[in-house]
Symmetry: C2
Subunit: 364 residues, 2 copies
């Protein structure tokens, strides 16, 4: 049911990689009827995380494509290296016409490839084949791309919605438990935003037990659909509706930047902070607090981080966060219960005060 709905939105689930002809159909669809491309001098280009080279299915699949290998991680999102990458890519492309970019990697490779797809010859189609649970659940569907300038994250970017997302079980199921763990932040986030049955499933079943890749694979479609439904209401972030997806991200991004911890983990800390702040401001219901009690285990680590980040540094990182509303003010996402997230404008100094308050409260 969920998968059928996602198919209409061009998110596909399969055991194996999509065939060459399948991909070409998806790409040609975008090009419209009036331009026919001879496949002899036109091709898609795959931007592939080089650590996937050892995956047996990846190797044979790549044989059909022009490929540019990159190292995944925040480094590839640095604007400084963009000219070098584009020069390398032009050498690979030679005189071929590129009919699309395919990202085969995690969130950073997807961001890089998406940005390229949106500016190469003023835009060519994009396909995502996410190779991490986090990107499969989150960034592959967001249509947002971003590059960092020095320490400032996501200053440069574009909107670039993929022509299709192929979710490949054989690729994702080989990932380590640690990789599954790092998807938890976004999973918890989307469950809290959506509420309802999905929230119950995540908080009363999924988070409670030791999970297998199969569990996550089965939950994936619901998480994706919940995210896509929010995006569709406000794809270009004109109405502020999409901003709800930043739940946990304001503080999360700052911690991620400063401590270089994985995005999914950082978001989880951000969520714990946001729930605690919401409780301090609005007093949350005891039943809701009981349900999200499982997140409490993260508190010691959160406050240990918050103690170690210098106040002026945190201030600076919060100010540069792209989700800020205006000047010193930030649209912060609070929660009153499952499915009840909302935005309120706070000042950066409000956040800093709350950080100190929570540190004190926790150490008591």
């Amino acid at each position: 049911m969920t998968k059928t709905e996602l198919k209409k939105k061009k998110v596909y689930f399969s055991d194996h990689f999509p065939s060459h002809s399948r991909l070409l159909r998806v790409l040609e669809y975008q090009r419209g009827g009036n331009i026919k491309v001879s496949m002899l001098d036109a091709a898609p280009l795959v931007i592939c995380d080089r650590k996937l080279q050892s995956h047996p299915e990846v190797i044979s699949w790549l044989e059909n494509y022009l490929v540019y290998f990159v190292s995944g991680g925040e480094k590839i999102k640095n604007l400084d290296s963009l000219p070098r990458h584009i020069n390398n890519i032009l050498r690979i492309i030679k005189n071929k016409k590129i009919i699309g970019f395919i990202s085969l990697g995690g969130g950073s490779v997807g961001d890089f490839t998406g940005f390229l797809a949106s500016v190469y010859k003023r835009g060519v189609p994009l396909i995502h084949i996410p190779s991490t649970w986090l990107s499969a659940m989150d960034s592959a569907h967001g249509g947002k791309t971003a590059l960092n300038v020095g320490e400032v994250k996501n200053v440069i970017g574009s909107y670039c919605f993929p022509q299709a997302v192929f979710t490949v079980k054989n690729l994702l199921s080989t990932l380590s438990e640690k990789e599954r763990e790092s998807a938890k932040g976004e999973l918890v986030k989307i469950a809290l935003i959506k509420g309802g049955d999905f929230y119950k499933e995540i908080f009363t079943e999924y988070l409670d037990k030791k999970n297998s890749a199969l569990d996550l694979w089965n939950i994936l479609p619901q998480a994706i659909l919940a995210k896509i439904k929010i995006i569709e209401k406000d794809p270009y972030e004109k109405k502020g509706l999409r901003r709800l997806l930043n739940f946990g991200h304001t503080l999360g991004h700052a911690l991620e930047s400063y401590f270089h911890i994985p995005h999914g983990e950082a978001v989880l800390y951000g969520i714990v902070f946001a729930i605690q702040w919401s409780h301090n401001r609005f007093t949350l219901s005891p039943s809701f607090l009981r349900q999200v009690f499982i997140l409490q285990t993260k508190k010691s680590q959160l406050y240990s981080y918050l103690k170690r980040i210098p106040k002026n540094k945190l201030n600076q990182l919060l100010l540069h966060d792209k989700k800020r509303g205006r000047g010193e003010y930030i649209d912060f996402i609070f929660i009153k219960g499952p499915g009840k997230v909302f935005t309120e404008t706070v000042s950066v100094s409000d956040i800093l005060t709350e950080v100190q308050k929570q540190i004190l409260l926790h150490s008591k």
Copy 2:
């Protein structure tokens, strides 16, 4: 009449620079109703060609703005220097919220600023104040931005339509005759594409006499309107209609790249070549040939260039031209008479053969 129509399309003509409040109104309009910006911590950023610093009206006008000075010319369009420029700009911006980019310069500054506007925080509004006749007539209205990678022009770019274009008489009328001359290429192009009365005015009156800045100022609105009307039919170049604006550009871009000659001049050579090729293929009417006879004066210089550019280099430059259709094939614009331009697909080797043919024909 023309000016009234252009006002609706947000192209304004005035003697002086727009006032600060006028500009802010234009920018706030774009931001929609739900986000109010306090002007204390939000501002537009002007990207200004540093050679305009000596213009008295520019100096006083800039006092109200954050300004980043750049050197106009192809260099600024080089992708390699983009990270450095963005780092500099971030230092100027500090913690301010940028509510728009204003380009004050010619085509290259406009391209650079437009690209920035389209990728800074995933897109902020853009305003053009063109400081050359060429950009006032052409690139400021096109909504296309482009950066070069090495010698390959316009590989990276975006669509970024300006929120408004302010055409300032006091800025344009101080420009040299040489500057007026370099706008001639695009003026001739748009006249040939449009045909009708505008074509007659340009070919039987304007080109015939020694022109003043006032003449060009008076003709400007018609040239702009003709261009905008074509763009509106196909803003994102999906239907091939906009491609007609590339009349004279296929060969023109190659000459511009290789000999580093001004764009307007290069386009004029491209037009002369395209008219001659059209005549060789379709036999143009004697009356049309008489009317465009004035362009014949460019022939000696055109063929002198064509003799000096190595065949393999021309081949390579033509292949990389972004207007190429597929692989070795290029959508070349031919003309059968005023207002009768059309696209035909030719191979790069067709063009090279025609180049040789015309060189021979001319030397006879």
